[in-house]
């Protein structure tokens, strides 16, 4: 073993406190250090994931107190897979935005990189922790960095978007605390595994109230339908790479939390159908809203919300196939949506309105970026032979296995809607005449590298899905085996 899970939190926090000091020595360090930290964490994550896939989960105790007394971190196949994915994306976001704000003042750059690193750390913490109050703390870290990043471009619109996000986020925190309070007042413990083993003792009425509070609170972060009013604005107003970080990292962490509560902690019988219901509503509303958007980033944001709805539907099947499909979808969505955000922000780089009509004819000026955007669009819609095809196929087979034909039909119908609005943009990029007013912006070298890497991964998964399915199956098994999780954590002495 090369390290332990606590380093995923301790090292970035240490670096965050150090960066202001390092910046006084040499200003470039502010940009370099987060990258070094993320690179180290990626190596650590891959090593630990390999270890875990062979030897079983690692449960790390903090401050020397075994669960349920102290806080613990759990690195198993499921959380390890998500952590690796998040840190990988975080590193790509860092590479993409390395030269970001290069020519402006030093202080905004310092704050940007600090907030970005904390956004990633908070999300990783949400996934790793085995304690419900600790998860609350990490959700706070994530959301406060997210508010700051949303309002990074100081203007009327971004301030409004950030304010909306702050209001919803604060309500989410309140609900989360209320839910935690009910659980503690009943069971006298905050440890997830301990709660899971005692949840049957709880008063059913209080159990339902606390589950609903958890879902409401996490649903705000996970962009579930009635709670996602902040999302399109935040995506549209935040800097381009931050949109990718939101879609790829923050939302994934929130979905993880909902799944952890539904699958492991609570034992409510109707919760799976509830997930299908809210997922389906989110999917349909978001995709139909996406088709009416005029701004590119808002369209991508609604598409991202819709995909999260589909992930929840797949988790709601409650079967192994369903969980596998959901995980595959999460992986694909993280990679493809990041590519779309990265390339999309270059397609509309110099326009003030960021309208879809302004991407007309960009393929002549930005051939590689346009090609990659088209690749992302085809992949996310689910056209073979790209990555998205396999995950959509997995969702449909899982639905068929659970005899949910209506869900299958609805998902296919929504996919057609998705196809329409993505192909509309691709059509504009390739076959329309460029508007004279819009000046194309060549991507930076870093940006190009990141987009090419993501494109290559999409093709790799598309042509050779077995590269990831083995790991996804192991992650699925580790999520489904609730008894094993409880035993791993509580057997520590």
């Amino acid at each position: 073993m090369v390290g332990t899970p606590v380093l995923f939190i301790a090292i970035p926090l240490m670096a965050a406190f150090l960066i202001p000091l390092l910046g006084m020595i040499w200003k470039e360090l502010v940009r370099i250090v987060p990258g070094l930290v993320l690179t180290y964490l990626l190596i650590l994550a891959i090593n630990l994931l390999n270890h875990v896939l062979v030897h079983g989960p690692i449960v790390e105790v903090i401050a020397g107190w075994v669960p349920p007394i102290g806080i613990n971190l759990v690195f198993n196949a499921f959380s390890g897979f998500l952590v690796t994915l998040m840190i990988f994306l975080g590193l790509l976001v860092w590479v993409y935005s390395y030269r970001f704000k290069r020519n402006v003042d030093y202080e905004p750059a310092l704050k940007y990189f600090l907030m970005l690193m904390m956004l990633i750390t908070g999300s990783v913490g949400i996934v790793l922790t085995g304690d419900i109050f600790n998860m609350f703390v990490f959700i706070e870290i994530t959301s406060i960095s997210a508010y700051g990043l949303t309002a990074f471009y100081k203007g009327r619109n971004s301030a409004e978007a950030s304010f909306k996000y702050v209001m919803m986020g604060s309500i989410a925190s309140t609900f989360l605390l209320l839910a935690i309070m009910i659980i503690y007042a009943q069971l006298g413990t905050l440890n997830m595994a301990d709660i899971a083993s005692k949840i049957h003792l709880m008063d059913p009425k209080l159990k339902i109230v606390s589950y609903i509070f958890f879902v409401v609170a996490l649903g705000i972060e996970a962009e579930i339908f009635p709670l996602n009013g902040w999302a399109p604005d935040a995506y549209a107003e935040a800097p381009g790479p931050v949109g990718a970080a939101f879609a790829g990292i923050v939302v994934k962490a929130a979905v993880y939390a909902i799944i952890r509560y539904t699958y492991t902690i609570f034992d409510l019988s109707g919760s799976f159908s509830f997930l299908i219901l809210i997922g389906m509503i989110t999917l349909i509303i978001a995709e139909t809203a996406a088709i009416r958007q005029e701004k590119l980033k808002r369209m991508l944001a609604y598409s991202s919300i819709g995909q999260m709805g589909l992930v929840l539907v797949a988790f709601g099947f409650g079967t192994k196939e369903g969980v596998f499909a959901a995980l595959f979808l999460m992986l694909n969505h993280a990679i493809i949506k990041s590519l779309l955000f990265f390339s999309g922000s270059y397609l509309t780089y110099n326009s003030t309105e960021k309208k879809i009509s302004e991407v007309n004819g960009m393929s002549k000026y930005l051939p590689i970026t346009s090609l990659l955007f088209a690749l992302g669009a085809f992949a996310i819609v689910g056209l073979p032979p790209f990555a998205g095809f396999w995950s959509k196929l997995a969702v449909l087979t899982a639905a068929a296995d659970s005899n949910m034909i209506l869900i299958m039909v609805l998902v296919l119908m929504v996919s057609v809607v998705e196809l329409v609005y993505y192909l509309r943009v691709v059509n504009r990029v390739y076959f329309f005449k460029k508007e004279a007013a819009v000046k194309p912006q060549k991507p930076t070298f870093n940006g190009l590298i990141v987009m090419l890497v993501l494109g290559a991964i999409i093709l790799l998964i598309g042509f050779y899905p077995d590269a990831v399915t083995g790991m996804l199956h192991k992650a699925t098994n580790s999520l489904m085996d609730k008894g094993q999780y409880i035993q791993n954590v509580l057997s520590l002495k």
Partner: protein
């Protein structure tokens, strides 16, 4: 009509939610029969092996020290975000958004009070493991001392660099003590110093060190917040 419906819906929901909270019965033994709440373990272990007289401190800094590290980071981030939001609007050093002159009673009085406030703040966080209070409370008291000085003197200024150095060093101390515990004891934030005798100033192992670091950090951060907000350029004169 729509508003009435919304209010009715909220009232119904509020009634049932409040009802479920009343059912818990705070203040009485409210835990489900047969569970062993962690609070009893915390209380028992605070005296031995931790050797700390203040149970709140032992929970905040040791049993749930990881949460506290997170909360300290939340504060640090909040200050960072505030600085980033108000960055463009900041004045040159020395200028204020609120300009008024304090009377001589306030100026001379605050000169007298300032050292006492700082001393009280330091006392509160140094004795965090012995008496009520701790790093967060002590830090807030110190920041209130700086607020008094900033209000009393128009040209009183705090070095931004110094604040950020103190903040960073305190944060590094917290995370560094955690990592040292990791190296010596095998788990993050574990105590690796001798625990001493109960009720002595030097007792509780790493707990006082962490709380002193938290005190410095909170003090520096809140002073920074006050300073940033005081020097925000208003809409009217900007």
């Amino acid at each position: 009509m729509k508003k009435v419906l919304v209010i009715l819906l909220l009232a119904t929901m509020g009634y049932y939610i409040a009802g479920s909270y009343f059912d818990i019965g705070f203040g009485q033994p409210h835990f489900v029969q047969g569970v062993k709440p962690v609070k009893d373990i915390y209380l028992a272990k605070t005296v031995k092996p931790l050797t700390v007289s203040n149970a709140v401190t032992s929970i905040v800094v040791n049993f749930r020290g990881f949460d506290t590290l997170g909360e300290v980071t939340v504060l640090f981030l909040a200050v960072t975000v505030l600085g980033s939001l108000l960055y463009k609007k900041r004045h040159a050093v020395g200028e204020r958004s609120v300009l008024f002159s304090a009377s001589s009673i306030v100026t001379s009085g605050s000169k007298l009070l300032f050292p006492a406030i700082i001393l009280l703040g330091a006392y509160v966080f140094i004795h965090g493991h012995l008496s009520p209070g701790g790093g967060f409370q002590g830090g807030v008291i110190i920041a209130s001392g700086f607020l008094l000085m900033l209000l009393a003197y128009e040209n009183y200024s705090v070095s931004h660099t110094a604040l950020s150095v103190v903040e960073s060093l305190a944060g590094i101390t917290f995370a560094g003590v955690g990592l040292l515990g990791f190296m010596h004891g095998g788990t993050f934030l574990q105590n690796f110093l001798p625990v001493g005798v109960l009720n002595n100033l030097f007792s509780g192992g790493v707990i006082p060190i962490i709380y002193i670091a938290v005190g410095f950090k909170v003090g520096a951060e809140l002073t920074g917040v006050i300073y940033t907000v005081l020097h925000e350029k208003g809409q009217s004169n900007g």
